[in-house]
């Protein structure tokens, strides 16, 4: 009468660990062939439809038909945020020359935060939005989300894409979705407790905040909430081993990292094997690591490079060889069986944060790893790089937990030693009283490079 009945009686259970077993375990050679064909397809699409890309490629003397091999790919000019900004200053408002579809086909609106300048407006057709949900379904299924889960979304649903896709993908998977907009943190936790949710998604900073509010304001042990899995997105952290460990211990749960961006989509995801970092969804995205100095492609694991991404199937405002300004490195293959490669440690930082300090390549997530690995230290810290005369100086500010305030001497020694071993650098350590360092609600800004301001 209502639910459609099976035709022949037997329905096979969809209990694969992969959302799409076909693509996620596709042999590398076939995957590469697929990627090249899809790259050519999206390249032709943008060249046909977008004045922004047409101009860019005309200036480079390039036509889609010129790109026949992987070597040819390196000739395709990259785009960055600034390209979108300039293109969007034109008609039709507000998407301008980057729009590849008629304006009335745009259904979903988001934008970037505008902290680094004029925001980038991000249009999606309905098909694009379904593609977004599909990509996040790869992500969430790999983390174990199933329709038996009740998922809480503690986010203020607004014009930043943030967890909108997580909401829609959770629906697609069939989870029960509880939208936690408007409520403050304490109210959210009480609602999670009332409804017996078993999973949620948030930035690592907010996940730790929630635990603190839960313990200190509500007097509830976060572990008692029965959370089975947490999806972290929005900032690095869940791939920093010590941060993941802190979150998992306080919530007694599994924490998985995700990598995405408004201009790109949800392109990286950790699986339940918890390898050294997230998988790149190589069927939906071309992820290239480029040497930060030479610009040459990096294929081998262990070497940091800047992340350049092509989204194969996003049509309203695609990104083709978009310089994400993030830095990462490949890792060893995962045991989960996916042929999608691993980015070891996830995103190590922004290109303008990964910097040479005293001639040594330094990424702020290494400070995070060191600080959070020491249980006597609070979650918050601050890292400052400045010039003292001619030399670079690194200052690491930390807080001892209140009940550990008499352990400063031993912690100081361990911290300095761990930092040196991790980064090959010495740093000045400042111990601050608990609660004195800045707190962040959702996304943290713990790294400050003051050398730039001095120029």
């Amino acid at each position: 009468m209502y639910g459609p009945k099976p035709l022949t009686g037997e329905i096979k259970k969809a209990d694969s660990p992969y959302w799409n077993p076909i693509l996620e375990t596709l042999p590398r050679e076939k995957l590469r062939a697929l990627q090249l064909a899809k790259f050519q397809r999206i390249l032709r699409w943008v060249w046909d439809k977008s004045p922004l890309y047409r101009r860019l490629y005309d200036e480079a003397g390039l036509e889609p038909g010129d790109i026949k091999t992987w070597e040819d790919l390196a000739r395709v000019p990259m785009v960055e945020k600034e390209h979108y900004r300039l293109a969007q200053a034109k008609d039709p408002w507000p998407y301008g020359d980057s729009l590849c579809v008629p304006l009335e086909d745009v259904t979903v609106y988001h934008q970037t935060s505008g902290t680094t300048g004029q925001p980038v407006f991000q249009p999606e057709t309905w098909r694009d939005w379904d593609w977004q949900s599909e990509c996040w379904s790869y992500i969430m299924w790999a983390m174990g989300f199933r329709k038996t889960d009740r998922v809480f979304i503690p986010f203020g649903y607004n014009i930043f894409v943030a967890y909108w896709t997580g909401h829609y993908a959770a629906e697609k998977i069939g989870c029960e979705v509880v939208p936690g907009g408007v409520l403050n943190t304490a109210e959210r936790i009480l609602k999670m407790q009332e409804l017996r949710v078993n999973s949620f998604m948030a930035t690592p900073t907010y996940v730790l905040n929630m635990a603190e509010v839960c313990k200190n304001k509500l007097g509830i042990d976060p572990a008692s909430l029965g959370i089975k899995r947490i999806l972290c997105a929005g900032e690095p952290g869940a791939s920093v081993r010590a941060t993941k460990k802190r979150i998992e211990e306080v919530w007694q749960t599994n924490v998985y990292d995700h990598i995405g961006a408004t201009e790109i989509g949800g392109w990286g995801y950790e699986c339940m094997e918890k390898p050294s970092g997230p998988h790149a969804n190589e069927a939906m995205f071309l992820v290239e690591l480029i040497d930060m100095e030479t610009g040459a492609p990096i294929e081998e694991p262990g070497r940091l490079g800047r992340v350049v991404i092509t989204t194969f199937d996003r049509l309203a405002q695609p990104c083709v060889r978009f310089d994400s300004k993030d830095v990462a490195m490949w890792g060893a293959d995962c045991t989960c069986g996916r042929t999608f490669r691993i980015l070891e440690g996830g995103i190590h930082g922004r290109t303008d944060h990964i910097t040479k300090v005293k001639g040594v390549l330094f990424s702020p997530t290494s400070a995070e790893e060191v600080v959070r690995d020491i249980p006597e230290l609070g979650d918050e810290f601050e890292l400052v790089v400045q010039k003292r005369g001619d030399a670079d100086e690194v200052i690491l500010k930390v807080e001892l937990l209140p009940h550990c305030s008499d352990l400063e001497v031993t912690v100081r020694e361990k911290l300095a030693r761990d930092f040196r071993m991790k980064t090959n650098l010495n740093c000045h350590l400042e111990f601050h009283p608990f609660g004195q360092l800045p707190r962040y609600d959702v996304k943290a800004r713990r790294f400050k490079d003051l050398r730039k301001d001095g120029h």
């Binding site: 459609p4 022949t8 329905i11 096979k12 694969s16 959302w19 697609k172 069939g174």
Partner: protein, 68 residues
């Protein structure tokens, strides 16, 4: 049946055929989660077409039909 009625009948049959194809797809390949869940979506969309168009035809069949 008049021309109008055969058009309506064709519309109804097409919707029911889509439903049947989606059910078949789910049985063939529903062990792939992406197929299973996307079929679930398709079936919900088809259910709306049933409410909007098919119900009238199947629940209240009669000889003469007038529609806008």
């Amino acid at each position: 049946m008049s021309d109008r009625q055969s058009e309506d009948a064709a519309v109804v049959q097409t919707i029911l055929k889509i439903k049947e194809e989606v059910l078949k797809l789910r049985e063939m390949a529903g062990h792939l989660p992406c197929v299973d869940r996307n079929c679930e979506r398709l079936l919900s969309s088809v259910a709306m077409l049933e409410l909007d168009v098919v119900d009238v035809w199947t629940l209240c069949p009669d000889q003469s039909r007038e529609s806008a």
